[in-house]
């Protein structure tokens, strides 16, 4: 029992037959071949699978691909343009906002959401915004610095 879905991912339209029970994260990684969004906990706690769905950051382990029929999805692979990193990616690089890098795709997609809604967040707002993303390496300080730097870069 499969159904056809049409989704736009990073500007490219895809059409696939999917089982209703296929989670978006499995669809992105195994069907479309985009392995940037990571599977960390698979229980909607860690945020490593975060992608943007119609402009909103969501956890792709907790939504079925079939719910996204007709939707626009942005993954970490769609952030850099013309061979140039996105300002948020630059900021994570410059501020050492990662160590092992496993959580980074999710951190960056959530950072985009935070800055889309608030161009100049306080440290407290940044930490509240990153509530749903876990990093087991950095202790978060450098990630908060990176978000702040990205906000500055976007304002500049």
């Amino acid at each position: 029992m499969t159904e056809t879905i049409n989704v736009s991912i990073n500007g490219t339209t895809y059409s696939h037959e999917v089982e209703p029970r296929l989670l978006l994260i499995h669809y992105l990684r195994e069907v479309v071949g985009l392995t940037g969004p990571h599977i960390g906990c698979e229980t909607s706690l860690c945020g490593a699978c975060t992608v943007e769905l119609n402009g909103k950051a969501i956890k792709s382990c907790s939504i079925f691909a079939i719910q996204c029929d007709g939707a626009k999805i942005l993954t970490i692979e769609g952030m850099a343009a013309d061979g140039k990193l996105h300002k948020i990616q630059e900021a994570f690089w410059n501020e050492h906002g990662l160590q092992c890098g496993f959580c980074t795709p999710g951190m960056i997609m959530t950072t985009k959401q935070i800055l889309d809604r608030n161009r100049n967040p306080t440290d407290q707002e940044i930490r509240h915004g990153l509530d749903g993303n876990l990093c087991r390496c950095t202790g978060y300080q450098h990630i908060v610095n990176a978000v702040r730097a990205a906000a500055r870069a976007a304002g500049a």
Binding site: P20, R21, G47, S62, D69
Partner: protein
């Protein structure tokens, strides 16, 4: 973490959805509780009806002196709604405490209240607001109070085939102050204890006090003894302490690895006092 197979429908109208639900299908709203449960196979519905494509279920509007919130309004919609922030700030404030950014972007008010997690945030606010919940089935529609809606752990007044269609909250009159205080379980984000307060004053006297509590016991409830003890008083610091001590009185408190029953009751008094003081301080 792969759910059992199921059939999926995404109707565009509520009537179509209710027809499928009457045949035994289960509703899917934001999925922030249901999908994790399906992945763990704690829930294995055979047929899911996605309510997400029904346009006239997602609204927040003023109507007849109250604010009506459609079932599929997300927590993000609620916390950022200018209407709610201006006229019923307690609900917007409470929504900001739910889960995290990603969960608030997907999770819905209808789904959350229908799930009736005993540690969820909305139920405390809805009790304090004396909210009404509109339940709709294929051939029926009825309105129940929040007090009657939350029956027990994961159990509500919903009958098979019914969905939460909307939640109705009052508009705060002049002289009203509200606040929600929560001790959260840091891994899950759910409330170990949450207290929502709505108070109104006329001159120096508290004329109305409503206190909703979540996380403490099997269901969210109103602390009516404490409410009565505050009404008619001025709301002095000493009175706040005395009233806060009544909030958990006589309640069969939950006990788990995060907090013993005794500790939960202690937290309830401490956070009730904070919520009462903040709400009273916010009265313009």
């Amino acid at each position: 973490m792969i759910p059992q197979q199921f059939e999926y429908s995404a109707p565009k109208t509520l009537d179509e959805a209710l027809g499928l639900l009457a045949e035994g299908a289960k509703p899917l709203a934001g999925g922030m509780s249901l999908i994790p449960m399906m992945k763990l196979r704690l829930a294995s519905p055979e047929h899911l009806v996605d309510l997400g494509r029904i346009k006239d279920l997602n609204y927040i509007r003023e109507e007849g002196g109250a604010i009506h919130i459609g079932a599929t309004a997300t927590h993000q919609d609620v916390l950022s709604s200018p209407l709610l922030r201006g006229k019923c700030p307690l609900l917007a404030e409470t929504a900001a405490h739910i889960g995290d950014v990603q969960v608030r972007n997907m999770g819905t008010i209808g789904g959350s209240v229908a799930h009736a997690d005993p540690s969820a945030d909305y139920p405390a606010a809805l009790q304090a607001l004396e909210a009404k919940i509109v339940l709709k089935g294929a051939k029926s529609e009825r309105t129940v109070s929040a007090e009657d809606f939350f029956v027990d752990t994961f159990t509500t007044a919903l009958e098979p085939g019914e969905i939460v269609r909307e939640v109705i909250v009052p508009i705060d009159g002049d002289g009203t102050g509200t606040n929600y205080q929560k001790v959260l379980q840091p891994a899950s984000g759910f409330a170990i204890v949450g207290v929502a307060v709505r108070v109104r004053k006329q001159g120096e006297k508290v004329t109305l006090a409503r206190i909703g509590v979540t996380g403490l016991s099997n269901r969210a409830f109103r602390a009516k003894e404490a409410e009565k003890a505050l009404e008619g008083r001025s709301g002095s610091p000493a009175e706040i302490q005395a009233v806060a001590a009544l909030v958990g009185q006589g309640i069969d408190a939950n006990s788990d690895l995060h907090a013993s029953a005794e500790y939960r009751l202690h937290l309830t008094a401490v956070y009730a006092a904070k919520a009462l003081a903040t709400a009273l301080g916010r009265i313009a």
